[in-house]
Symmetry: C2
Subunit: 706 residues, 2 copies
């Protein structure tokens, strides 16, 4: 996929608008959290497949649609009332079209309801509403996490299986949600065994998050391990619902080791754990005995000079085979492993990436997945059999993603394209043919004046890759005028801002900004995702360097455009994008007139161990790399107007980052504007987000536009 | 002094400038902390009277000037070296012209040096450099405070007399420096007894000040009692250097009681404590036995419907009489008390205030003090005998302050006037005649282009008082043009910004702002000091209300001036002035185009008990008063551009104030600009202050000037 094109090419997208009087975009209808936002953004059809068939239950305002039948929420509550139970809070799962598990916060219980005879047929009690609930597949038990402890509830009993405190937590997500870890409890397929995390954070420094909503502000510290400092220690335990025993996996020392991607074998006999050293350049795929926690064997190891980063647990085909995603050939591909022979077979090949793994279709022996094999802006749905024969199921240029039915015959294809907001269809797994249309909205802003979208292909600074830039031009764009431009960027790992989805993936506030007379430019640089190892790993030990080189390619392209005012180039980003904003403004300090950096990492030493050391190694190992990209220390180079924004309870990029930057700005006699969003974490969310974008726009209106 | 004038009158001050090429003011030479600032601001002659005579030892760069002799620092170090002692860190005290006590941090000791024979004649050891040191008058001991403990050092011993910890502190200033309290140790005149404070703060809520300079930010909590909440408890102890016993004063319960203004009788037999209830409307002047700590009697009580606030300890005349400052007749005056008869005699009278009490001249039986009897902008030095005969010693319109020699025959008069920077003279106590000129600098900015100073007298909003406003006009002022104006204000208790000192008391950065084309206006409103009880107490239970009414008198005056652009009125203040800035901008929200509020109290509930409840009572007692002046809640009314600035380790007006305001601004859909000065406390000091004023000026340049 590298260097596919050599000339700059531009595509123009004009979202069709009728000649009739058009409505105007507002921040309220283009910013998530705006009161009018969600009427334009109910994109994907909400709903669930039932547990033991491929019937899709759509969740609509008037109730649950199962084929032609609609089951109202009132019907479910009536069934509960018949059994003297309080109303439900939400539907947990459809077992079949007549049987549903619901949760009631009032009852602190889950109920199984037979809708045919309006009876409650089963229940799990002792589930308080402030808990994180993980139901066993057989609904005999639920894992109930209330930080820092974990218990298991069943028909009538509740048993604490991990009693946390003093820096020890049970049943929570670990390793700061890196390595694809999203939760801390893992039921075996039978529901008999529960694997769960135990994390000891007692030796990790406490960062003092301050809660100003108390009568007097109160410190609410979080354990935040900074790069190079002491990290937490994680262990994996197994609870046996039959005998109530807890067994610890007999792993290597948990000091400086990551335990990721837990996967149960279908027969409950063992589990796989992808273990990684603190340096993150060596992975051991270990098989543990579920009975006694002993290590059976290491199935394979993987090494990489920069890093290894598994993010998708092994998917079992049967009790002796699983599918694994690896980047070992330079791109994310599927591998079939045999646990007995330890042999691996690569199922997919090519200069493209597997982007999602949906599941295994037992009947046909095929794996369903998503990949960008048709082009890095697109996503399509594919299946591959265990011999490596791959079939594309989706059609139509754009982004397709799948939701797989449980019986293995059907799936939902959620599709969007640059000029098509959403088309959700129920499809046959056999051939991808559409069975039913679930949701179809071509333009979520029908009747509104929309800006003009353009894309452009540019060569990365090293000449090896094509980068895709997206321009949003004001609706009344006049090529004889010049416009101020804002480079909106992120640029960090695991991101792709421009793709072939609705409006080329642009978040809609950018359309509002364009309406105010700005050109909004965005381009994914090297280091972002879905482009293979070479493209992504060049950032190693020098976060910011290649990323900035590529962004400057974009800036130079903008400067070449006759309708861009080269004296009015602005820049804006959040998080890694905030870091990039400041880095670019201080490195190329005559280019940018104004910038806004939100929640920026200002010194990678202040970021956490898992993410930070993967890309940068430790500060002790890589002092130059840390120093060269420490924007807190580079702030003295600033010329343009810079607004830095931070949430005061940000526990991801801690406030110390921008405060340290502000302190250095004062020492360096440089002026940085600032805004704090009190009681917001890493992102300003909810309706306050409208205020945030009002502020960002006002800043550009004050200092970029004139 | 009230309503002395009815018409607006203006005086104009043009600081004479030669016709030669003038230098321009800079922030560096007009802002404290600027590298060029202090060459213009070495106003008052530095030095000390020797302990047992009226010889004034001037401290100059080349050494200590005693009459015609100069003693160099090297001479003192040579004397120390002769006795194998390390160099001194500073001179502590001149005993006579040949005997000096010095402190050496290297030796952690104080030495008495005879300069005649270059010998060390005495010493006190065990005084670490990080301690607060209070030497006994006889230099036999020193009280050595290292938070939270207190010890006493002598010739060779060091004894801990208060071992603090767990919220208990010994020997520190208490009650948050209110009631004139500046220290925590009080030697008796003989040096035999040491009174000291013990404060139990263990029940006071901890405010989490965060130190971002640590590798990982660290909470360093301070005990901060907020209005209406649990406060600390204070006791007074006496240490006897003869027998090493510590005796506690047997006071009433320390719960909700303030122990202020400790004063020793000359014979060491007893001490006086001005005790005040938490409501601060009742004072008991209590006499305690120094031997056993027992209460001997209450000498008098004072009550006031609003508040009583003693700030000057009793000054003993002899063992049975003392002078006390009280506002009981509506103005601060001197009262002579007889401890035996409990009778009081008012020594001074009139609609003016005693502003400083300098001492008692034993030889003539007179009290030396400062007052504003000639007009509220001026200060003069007076003496009054014990029959009430008052004599003015100083002459010349302006501000005089005295430093009294120890033998009671001479004093230094430090004088300045609007057009005279500093004239320090050594004067006779008998008649105020000048003996010698110590320092004489007419214009600290000689050779610089200075702006034009004007004053104006305005009637307070209630028509009862004259208020003095000060205008600073650009040097090239053109009355046919219009100018933007900035109201710089404070407005809180214990302040007077306009007086008859050098440049009418204006801090010099205002001259720099004027040079940039702004008119700077400042006016003291009702509630500020030195004007009597009626003027000052009108703020009770409604902080901000009268103050704003008066400031609006000033604003309306400005609007009446043909050269003021009424569409470009700005406002700036810090602390109480920050509160006033926001209060005015949200109450009169069409008047101010731009404002800058630093370290603002945004909700009096977030301010401390001692100051807050004196003026506002508790939030429980006065919910309406708190609500009406809670600018955090009024921020939704804002129209103009407002920049709020706060130091992140401010332990006076805690950060919660402006963070709460910012949170409410977001909720109210109002935009407030913000700046944080990391690792600064309530005031941005040091060289960073130059940056601060650069920011403030830039803000007005951005949003007021255009």
């Amino acid at each position: 996929m590298n260097a596919r094109k050599t000339a700059i090419v531009a595509t123009i997208l004009l979202v069709a608008s009728a000649a009739m009087a058009q409505k105007q975009l507002t921040l309220e209808n283009t910013v998530p959290g705006g009161y009018d936002f969600y009427e334009h953004h109910n994109h994907r059809a909400r709903g669930l497949f039932v547990s033991n068939s491929d019937v899709f239950v759509r969740n609509e305002t008037d109730g649950y649609h199962i084929g032609n039948i609609t089951i109202t929420r009132q019907q479910i509550d009536d069934a509960l009332a018949t059994s003297q139970k309080p109303s439900m809070s939400y539907v947990e799962s459809w077992i079949d079209t007549e049987t549903v598990w619901v949760y009631s916060s009032e009852a602190e219980a889950a109920y199984c309801i037979n809708l045919k005879n309006n009876s409650v047929t089963d229940s799990i009690t002792n589930i308080p509403p402030d808990a994180t609930i993980d139901f066993a597949p057989d609904y005999h038990h639920a894992a109930v996490s209330i930080y820092p402890s974990l218990s298991v509830s069943g028909r009538s009993e509740n048993r604490t299986i991990g009693n946390g405190g003093n820096g020890v937590v049970f049943g929570q997500s670990v390793h700061r949600e890196e390595f694809g870890i999203e939760k801390g409890t893992f039921w075996s397929e039978s529901g008999r065994l529960l694997a769960f995390y135990r994390m000891d954070e007692s030796t990790v420094a406490e960062y003092p998050i301050v809660d100003i909503t108390e009568r007097e502000a109160t410190a609410k510290p979080v354990r935040y391990p900074m790069a190079g400092e002491t990290s937490h220690e994680v262990q994996i335990c197994i609870y046996n619902t039959d005998n109530q025993n807890v067994t610890y996996l007999k792993t290597a020392s948990p000091v400086n080791r990551y335990f990721t991607n837990i996967a149960w074998s279908p027969d409950d006999k063992f589990l796989l754990v992808a273990e990684i050293n603190r340096e993150q350049n060596h992975l051991w795929m270990n098989q543990y005995n579920a009975d006694d926690g002993s290590l059976i064997k290491t199935i394979f190891e993987e090494e990489n000079p920069e890093w290894v980063e598994p993010c998708t647990p092994a998917m079992f085909i049967d009790n002796s085979r699983f599918v694994w995603i690896s980047e070992r050939d330079g791109f994310k591909h599927l591998y079939l492993y045999d646990i007995n022979t330890l042999k691996a077979k690569q199922l997919t090949h090519g200069n493209w990436c597997v982007t999602e793994l949906y599941g295994f279709i037992a009947a046909t022996g095929e794996v369903l997945f998503q990949a960008n094999a048709e082009g890095y802006l697109t996503r399509d749905i594919y299946k591959v059999n265990l011999k490596g024969k791959m079939t594309r199921l989706s059609s139509g240029y754009g982004v397709h993603s799948a939701r797989l039915g449980n019986a293995g015959t059907r799936y939902i294809d959620d599709y969007s394209a640059p000029d098509y907001a959403i088309l959700s269809t129920l499809c046959n797994l056999a051939d991808g043919k559409v069975i039913d249309t679930i949701r179809n909205v071509k333009n979520t802003y029908e009747g509104y004046t929309l800006p003009i979208f353009k894309t452009v292909s540019l060569k990365s600074a090293d000449g090896r890759f094509d980068l895709c830039g997206r321009l949003i031009l004001p609706a009344d764009f006049d090529s004889t005028r010049t416009y101020p431009v804002i480079d909106y960027l992120y640029g960090g790992p695991h991101s792709q801002l421009v793709d072939a989805s609705w409006l080329y993936g642009a978040s809609t506030w950018k359309m509002y900004f364009a309406q105010q007379g700005y050109i909004i430019f965005t381009m994914d640089n090297r280091g972002t995702e879905n482009r293979g190892v070479e493209y992504e790993h060049c950032i190693h030990r020098q976060l910011g360097k290649c990323e900035m080189e590529d962004q400057m390619v974009g800036i130079n392209y903008l400067k070449s455009l006759p309708y861009v005012d080269t004296t009015r180039i602005g820049i804006h980003g959040w998080s890694f994008g905030g870091f990039m904003t400041i880095n670019l403004m201080t490195t190329h300090n005559t280019v940018f007139k104004a910038g806004v950096a939100g929640g920026p990492v200002c010194d990678w030493q202040l970021y956490e161990v898992m993410y930070g050391e993967r890309y940068m190694d430790t500060p002790q190992e890589n002092p130059d790399g840390y120093a060269q990209n420490c924007v807190a220390d580079k702030i003295g180079n600033l010329n343009g107007r810079l607004l830095v924004i931070h949430g005061d309870i940000d526990a991801t990029v801690v406030w110390q980052n921008s405060l340290r930057l502000m302190q250095n700005a004062v020492t360096s006699d440089v002026m940085v504007d600032y805004a704090v969003y009190p009681q917001h974490e890493h992102n300003v969310i909810g309706h306050d987000r409208v205020h945030l974008f009002k502020r960002i726009l006002r800043y550009f209106d004050d200092f970029l536009k004139p």
